[in-house]
């Protein structure tokens, strides 16, 4: 099992980290989330027996759950240290304009954007992963594209 885990970890560690960062926009929170996700995978031997694409969907789903849980549990703490946190987020923002624009999107548009543009999932698959309707995904994508066009202007191609 250790070899299989190491193989999956190596394959998907950065993808899951990028998803967590898209959600939290915070390095420290992303570290915690990725750690929790892979420790959960390690303890779920039956998941490691599945095909890689199914394991990846499982990892994405668990990662989103972890993101939600972490943000909810630390909500009060974040409010108390809001000013300090804002400074940290600012310092952790990447210099890449496209990534910066994606991270400026509202959370629900960011995740859909990540899954569609980065992970290449189809709308139907994203709907299954996020457990929301395809219509909802299409709407979120449309709004995300509109906002990305407004932020990135000519850098973003018309779709």
């Amino acid at each position: 099992m250790n070899d299989r885990f190491a193989e999956i970890f190596d394959l998907y560690k950065n993808d899951i980290y990028r998803l967590a960062f898209s959600y939290t926009k915070n390095i420290s929170d992303s570290d915690d989330i990725v750690q929790n996700v892979f420790v959960k995978l390690y303890h779920k031997g039956e998941i490691l027996e599945k095909e890689n694409k199914d394991i990846k969907k499982w990892l994405i789903r668990v990662c989103i759950n972890e993101c939600k849980t972490l943000l909810l549990s630390s909500w009060k703490k974040k409010i108390s240290f809001l000013s300090e946190k804002e400074e940290n987020i600012e310092s952790e923002m990447p210099s890449n304009d496209v990534l910066k624009a994606v991270l400026e999107l509202p959370k629900k548009y960011r995740i859909v954007t990540y899954l569609y543009y980065y992970e290449d999932y189809k709308i139907k698959e994203i709907a299954q992963i996020l457990k929301i309707s395809e219509t909802n995904i299409q709407t979120r994508l449309a709004r995300a594209r509109k906002q990305l066009k407004e932020i990135l202007k000519e850098v973003w191609d018309n779709e």
């Binding site: 959960k40 759950n65 990305l148």
Partner: protein
């Protein structure tokens, strides 16, 4: 470079650190597996577990049947070409009068990409929501929904769905303050799918069925005479969900502040 490539390239700057990678691998694959010195005790434990296993198999079958029933609404009715496929499960739809108040829709335009990579402009009808009370909604529907004593005036987020021909397909109710007392809170979602719906609004929300539904239990309540699936999730210690159908209507109760026995007590107090 197209938009997909631009985003993929942008994300290459975000990588897991070497420290974190080492930490995770140390916590998992490099961890020493301790060999037990108590083989006899271990064998005794296996014997006890095997005895319990045959009992749990019977229980697991019962859980599976209820899970299949309560989660069946997550299966869409339409096939990929949009043709209607009726679900062959009894008791998961309910007749909704076509005269019920509509929450309204708005048309959203978006660009999609077809199989050949061409951009196609599509229009979507997005359902809106209204704030109403349980009493108002019941009067409008012409049939009651399960509730607690004296919470007829609680606020409900009311959303209707429509079939492609404009007839009513579903009514979804979200009651955030369904129960609130002494710091204990419980919300309730009600999903009503019309007998003639040509598609299904799942209403599944955030209920997780992939990431880890744990400690499943079937609770039978005599007041409404239903088997109710109660479960926790492995990613949130405090969260409990109760799912069931009653008179063709799906109910899901969700709490982060109540214990299992408190939730069961609440379920025993549901009535029309």
């Amino acid at each position: 470079m197209n938009n997909k490539k631009k985003i993929k390239k942008a994300y290459l700057d975000v990588n897991i650190s070497n420290d974190l990678e080492r930490k995770i691998l140390n916590m998992t694959v490099n961890k020493e597996v301790k060999r037990t010195k108590f083989k006899l005790a271990y064998l005794a434990l296996v014997a006890v577990l095997l005895t319990g296993f045959s009992l749990s198999l019977v229980y697991a079958k019962e859980i599976k049947e209820v899970v299949q029933k309560v989660l069946s609404l997550q299966v869409g009715k339409g096939d990929e070409e949009g043709n209607t496929i009726k679900i062959n499960v009894n008791g998961i739809t309910h007749d909704i009068p076509n005269t019920v108040k509509r929450s309204g829709t708005k048309i959203v335009e978006y660009n999609d990409v077809d199989e050949n990579g061409n951009i196609v402009v599509k229009k979507l009808k997005e359902n809106l929501s209204l704030k109403r009370t349980i009493k108002e909604v019941e009067k409008d529907l012409g049939f009651p929904i399960l509730k607690l004593q004296n919470n007829d005036d609680n606020e409900v987020t009311y959303t209707t769905g429509e079939n492609t021909d404009g007839t009513i397909s579903s009514v979804e109710l979200e009651i955030f303050n369904f129960y609130e007392e002494n710091g204990k809170k419980c919300s309730m979602d009600v999903d009503i799918t019309d007998d003639n719906a040509d598609y299904i609004v799942t209403g599944a929300g955030d209920i997780d069925v992939i990431g880890g539904k744990v400690d499943e239990e079937i609770y039978h309540t005599d007041t409404i005479k239903e088997d109710i699936l109660i479960y926790a999730v492995d990613w949130d210690d405090s969260r409990l969900t109760a799912l069931f159908y009653h008179d063709g209507i799906k109910y899901s109760l969700l709490t982060n502040t109540m214990t299992r026995s408190e939730l069961k007590n609440l379920l025993d107090n549901l009535k029309y």
